[in-house]
Point group: C2
Chain length 341, copies 2
Amino acid sequence: MNLKQLSELLGLSQTTVSRALNGYPEVNEATRERVLRAVKETGYRPNKAAQRLATGKAGSIGLVMPTAPGHQSDVHFGEFLAGLGEEAVRHDFHFVIMPADPDDEVAALRRLAISGNVDALFVAYMRGHDPRLAMLKSLSMPFVVHGRSFGSEPDYPYLDIDNEAAFYEAARLLLQLGHTRFALMNGPAHLDFAIRRRNGLIAALGERGLELADDCTSHTVMSDEEGLIAMERFLQLAERPTAILCSSTVLALGAIRAVNQAGLKLGENISLIAHDDVLPLLKPENFSVPLTTTRSSLRAAGVRIAQRLIGTVKQAGPFPEQELWKTELIVRASTGPAPQS
Amino acid sequence: MNLKQLSELLGLSQTTVSRALNGYPEVNEATRERVLRAVKETGYRPNKAAQRLATGKAGSIGLVMPTAPGHQSDVHFGEFLAGLGEEAVRHDFHFVIMPADPDDEVAALRRLAISGNVDALFVAYMRGHDPRLAMLKSLSMPFVVHGRSFGSEPDYPYLDIDNEAAFYEAARLLLQLGHTRFALMNGPAHLDFAIRRRNGLIAALGERGLELADDCTSHTVMSDEEGLIAMERFLQLAERPTAILCSSTVLALGAIRAVNQAGLKLGENISLIAHDDVLPLLKPENFSVPLTTTRSSLRAAGVRIAQRLIGTVKQAGPFPEQELWKTELIVRASTGPAPQS
DNA sequence: AGTGGCTTCCAAAGCGCTTTAAAATATGTA
DNA sequence: TACATATTTTAAAGCGCTTTGGAAGCCACT
């Protein structure tokens, strides 16, 4: 059943039927009712491909999912997607997910954009000086970035959390507790959030005349294994750090294993603050020693970004172009006064 | 740049250019080269919507993502998706993800199918007597089910692991170790895998004249909280179970917290075997007491299902309709002889 | 020269929808 | 009643691609 058949059945033109369905005003209310009833009876559904071809709109937002045989899947990604989905389902939008090699994200994004399959783009895993920004701007397709790109003019639509402030505040707390030897377990060095969190920590240390040593910094994929390895390395240093800032509760998971294996007590011998993306699987309050965290819900960010994206496509009022969310610093048991040594 | 412009530029007809691009034989090799070169230079990309309208093929596979404001995102889903993606990227396929309320999956699936946005469907979270099967069969669109539907004729294409055998074998091991009081921490009772795993356990117990008590069975969402709660309940029973079968390492995470809090030792006072979906985040060997598990990679299943789905769409040879993977029983430290009481 | 068979190319007809421009009909006003 | 103005409907032109059904050109063979 297509539009032509339906209109013949009704003795109307395709135009009128199409208009009746799409809520145009220039159609008699009685006719509209008649059309709607016929649609119900026949189970007619407009062909999306044709609709898309005619309008250029697809009712979908596109995103690139980094993946590769060796590439370990990222809980953060899933959680964020859940947020996007929660909002999308309210507006009958869907996603087009383009899987792509992590080294090929620019090209994948371009392919996705020109595929004509999506109305808007969502972009994550931002890097410093991210090359995708220039491409996105040249595209004339709405997009929202999750995060920012350090070193680029912040003139693009984004939603980010204040990573610098988060780790600055976290470091301040630890400084107040008397800690002087800090370590940082961070995400991959090229990623924007990693750069900013590091800067936040360095700024706080700088105010006290302290520095962040290179051998007290690790930049890795945020898996628990890497957390374990990094922490083991820190613990073997002559001047062992007593205060750890950690970019994810996933990293913290491994880090804490290392702490336990070394026979140390979290919150006593060693203090740790992790950033908490509010992953359902990894609640900081459920750790054997509940974790002090900087918190911001990844899922909430997903919801908000979907709102902005869909709103823009539907031209539903203006949205703020740039949003910077504050994180919350939540003190639990993994932080304590610096040990006397 | 569209086909018309490109063909004018080349002084060829649209037909010839289209054929040159799609590898049809009736075009001179020299002309084809010329076309290909022009494509490179101009950066021409065929409009997908038009292609789809003309061919009816979309180059994408559809799936429903259960989501709702309260609905906690599922690590298993993300991991599986990564597997699908890994394969899809090899064939330039993408996904169309339709977010849907978990109670609305049938309707969502139908919407997705008739949307014309997808060539094939992937279906998961199978239930006993799943109503989606009948709908899928009536659809004349290729699909593959992950899991099976207990109580339905197994005449649909699926990939499943042998859940019954997995828990049967796991229970046998614990029986051999002398355990007699068993408990089961399972997924939601209506889901197929939960039904089968329970059956596997009951079968093994039955052979020894044992039964699975109702108060030693929990069916919950597979979160660590629920694991904690269930285990706490088990531990308060007068006849405390000493052998636990657990449907996910996520549940085990919470369960083990309860065990620790009760001052019990895993592998001594209480033995536990969990099913391991090989989540990167939750490696059983990294638990403080490494976990004995039944193992089967969710991600590998994703890859395989994508293969079958894409292969079918591309008509690339026949695939087995039904596949049942064996799980591996891997013994680590969380299982030990039944305590003498 | 005429015929048949290849190879290579093309014009044009869709695919199913939206939308423009115009026609038909209804309504209001002098 | 006649005319201008609203309201409602329509025919037809796309959107950008694939594919059908020829046609043109070329060759070899009678």
